[in-house]
Symmetry: C2
Subunit: 410 residues, 2 copies
Amino acid sequence: MSAWSIEWVESSNGVTDAKGFRASGVSCDIRGKSNGQLDIGMVYSSSPCSVAGTFTSNRVKAAPVLLDQSRVRSGRPVHGVIANSGNANACTGDEGYANAEAQVALAEGLSGRTGGSFLVCSTGRIGRQMPMDKVKKGIHAAWESLGDDVSHGHAFSQCILTSDTRPKRCGVILRNGAREVRIAACAKGAGMIRPDMATMLAFVVTDLGCEQADLQMLLSEAVEDSFNSITVDGDMSTNDTVLLLANGSSGVSLDAADIELRSAFLKGLSTVCERLAYLIVGDGEKISKVVTVKIVGAPDRESARKVAYSIAHSALVKSSWAGSDPNWGRVLCAAGYSGLPVKESDMSMYYDACPVVKNGRVLDENISQWREIVSKKEFSIVLDVGMGHAEARLLASDLTPEYIEFNMHE
Amino acid sequence: MSAWSIEWVESSNGVTDAKGFRASGVSCDIRGKSNGQLDIGMVYSSSPCSVAGTFTSNRVKAAPVLLDQSRVRSGRPVHGVIANSGNANACTGDEGYANAEAQVALAEGLSGRTGGSFLVCSTGRIGRQMPMDKVKKGIHAAWESLGDDVSHGHAFSQCILTSDTRPKRCGVILRNGAREVRIAACAKGAGMIRPDMATMLAFVVTDLGCEQADLQMLLSEAVEDSFNSITVDGDMSTNDTVLLLANGSSGVSLDAADIELRSAFLKGLSTVCERLAYLIVGDGEKISKVVTVKIVGAPDRESARKVAYSIAHSALVKSSWAGSDPNWGRVLCAAGYSGLPVKESDMSMYYDACPVVKNGRVLDENISQWREIVSKKEFSIVLDVGMGHAEARLLASDLTPEYIEFNMHE
């Protein structure tokens, strides 16, 4: 048994829960609605942070993603991140990139830090230049407002929201005797969520000390079964970013030889990422259900994921979830066009633990139980494709008429 | 210039327009609603027909698809096809296959033809066994009702419909002096339409004489830019089938050396297939718009198709079409995750002929024209990815709240 215990932070304040991190969220009217909505903020640590990041694999990347990627790759420590909602600074060309650079340069000037010590994340409307006059005022105000009270963590978690209906915060504490390490985080999600991260921003901070290369390895592992295993509408955004900053303020540092701490930290980090991923799907645009699609009996993990996505992206399957209709035929049909050479007579399927299909034969006698299960707010579909021993799990949502209405006009 | 002219048949009666083909459509209450809806029918030629077919690439294939595939592959001539709606005979295992065999055996018995001379197509609900007592009565009635009047062609085109709002018929006449060849057809479509043919049945008949191998080659070529280039909801069904029967009743046969006739016939066949494909998309479940997605400047055709599908399957793009919102950002974004390594600064885009993006730069000054174009019932999106000279064209539809509502409960 590990000497490290892991516990949830009760009612997390977000990023300010970790030692040495301050935050802010203010309004600078990026949307031009003059309604005081928080739309720009900052996370800041006066101690330098190692930083790791994972980014959208969309070939059309927003300016802030391009800037952050190059800074994370440089391996240089950072002190903070600026984030805004209302404008994604995507499809904005050279002017957009220059604007992203101007944002970080301004924050660097205010903090007296050298170039390269800030990152920037943007989310919102694509294809419009940032209103830089407003944004510059916003960055000034965000810098002035930094603090580590509950209100600061909350404000930052709010300023990044777009069509989210609520902020998403969580954190864990790792304890081993007198030693204590915190991982604290917040995220925004909602539309365009699919594997490989889509219009999703997550800010994870920790007061652990950790080398950058190591931190990147840990983050990449943690996102695999969390942010990279969710889907709402199958679209993948230009802006998705997960950042992990480690400032060492806990006094505990990750030593390569300390297997126990490493394992506890990875577990804590995975727990935080999985929780945020769950909160993002559960708050997906106009969704009514969260469905776990689990594929077992696949020849390999990649094939299992392929089948899971084929099911979770089917408009017909997702519509039937919205209607609480146990339409197992559409599920098998979507598996059939996944690209994996499945055989009808080798497939078995379950709603939660209730058998639906056994080797291609339908177990109609269970139909009232199926209806009960698929009427719940959360349920699982388990599909055994009978081809091997690999599996994959995907967190998905239904597709509702309200989703389409919501996205018909931007 | 070809000696062959091609003209449309005015107000086509469907398959009975070609010489020597009789048809019928009757009611046998497969849906159990006792409402007299036509749900089973037959196409029949007393002269033996060469037959070609293309079928769904879904690995989960309905029983009739499996049966037809093996019969088409056998190369033996056929005399007719039975078709029904209301039950797809898919995911029905061995019992389903035996039922499909019983259907063709019954028709063969009634017509006095040898085994193997009938094909069968089914569409409708997945996962339920065919109500064989009703179906057998239906086949008897369909056999008794065969004829070549306008009412017979119409009845057949109606008995195959599911969520279609109207029958889909068309035909062409090829003329060269006294020689005349007819191609006549009907189809059903609606939901689950995507490339590689999905819940789509098309019956094309011709009174040309043609060797089977040749006929298959011609059909495969004709479906490529028609049935294989359409998408409604991205789902691919278990039952999609296009059949082409050639009975030689025109007295004109396709001789390998007759390049002019071959070329005219292929053109006529392509015209018919494209028209049916257009009718299917235009009658897609609860759609409000037909959008042509054309990708140019691709390194190869397959890449161009990949980008086109990525755009045409994006729930966000399709929602914006439904809302007449010229959201070009979502289009570029979907191109970005298509798998092709597109570069933002190399992409140019048009609504119809109106420039939207030029080398990644937005031409905002045209916005009122964009709005006008995307508010039409039909428009085009042309995306130049600036990577080569290949192109592809896809006929797609929008995604409406009504589509989801319609598919929430089966």
